[in-house]
Symmetry: C2
Subunit: 143 residues, 2 copies
């Protein structure tokens, strides 16, 4: 759990200006992993009630570009963000409630990166999405 000062350093390290909205967004993403944009806006507004929607969108994009947060976008859902970056981990998505959990790379370091036939593509990343049901929904057995 990083503190405000850490966030400022992270921003400076990425050559980004340190602004209240940016620090707040960083904190919100860290406190709510896999949250969608609206949730992040809500979280940010608990400490900075005046931030605009666009500020959050802009900040999230800027942070994504420099690699301080990662954007994930499972089909059928709005974009979500997480602060765990640097390790290429993956996600399990519950088909029923949408809950997302982290999954470390399946077979060692960067296994799935080796496609059997890349058709001449130069591949630099493999993104895996697992689909299933979370413990709660498995037990409930509902749709």
């Amino acid at each position: 759990m990083a503190a405000t000062l850490d966030f400022q350093q992270m921003l400076r390290g990425a050559a980004l200006r340190v602004t209240r909205p940016r620090v707040a967004v960083l904190g919100a993403v860290q406190a709510h992993p896999h949250a969608d944009t609206d949730s992040i806006i809500g979280a940010v507004r608990t400490e900075l009630p005046e931030v605009s929607r666009q500020a959050v969108y802009d900040v999230l994009r800027a942070l994504t570009v420099v690699g301080l947060v990662r954007r994930i976008e499972p089909p059928g859902t709005a974009a979500r963000y997480e602060s765990r970056v640097g390790d290429n981990h993956h996600h399990v998505v519950c088909r029923s409630c949408g809950l997302i959990a982290d999954v470390d790379c399946a077979v060692g370091a960067a296994p799935c990166l080796a496609a059997s036939d890349g058709h001449g593509y130069s591949i630099d990343e493999a993104e895996v999405t697992y689909w299933g049901r979370c413990p709660d929904c498995s037990t409930a057995g509902s749709s």
Copy 2:
């Protein structure tokens, strides 16, 4: 390359009514793999100029539900459809031009399905998206 009669049988086999729009959509998806919805609408209209956008959306959804086509939705792009179903293959997406190619499963039958730690989820599918640059864009070296 299946013919109209085959499409009719596929639809009947899935307990779907055989309608002109459905046959045309099935043909369009097969003729244009990885096409987005607008392209499919365009392709369908070359033989059935009057089909409505919603008809195509409805048909694509119906076909997806019964498993005659597969919907893929790489982050940052609109939904795309393909007719290759049944084998759980994956996709390479070019970061620069968006071109999509098929990739067979990396390590044998259904390798990536085995997450290292599923957090109690019951996983039934693993979807892999490879990111890179297609041969043309690699050569061009542009952004």
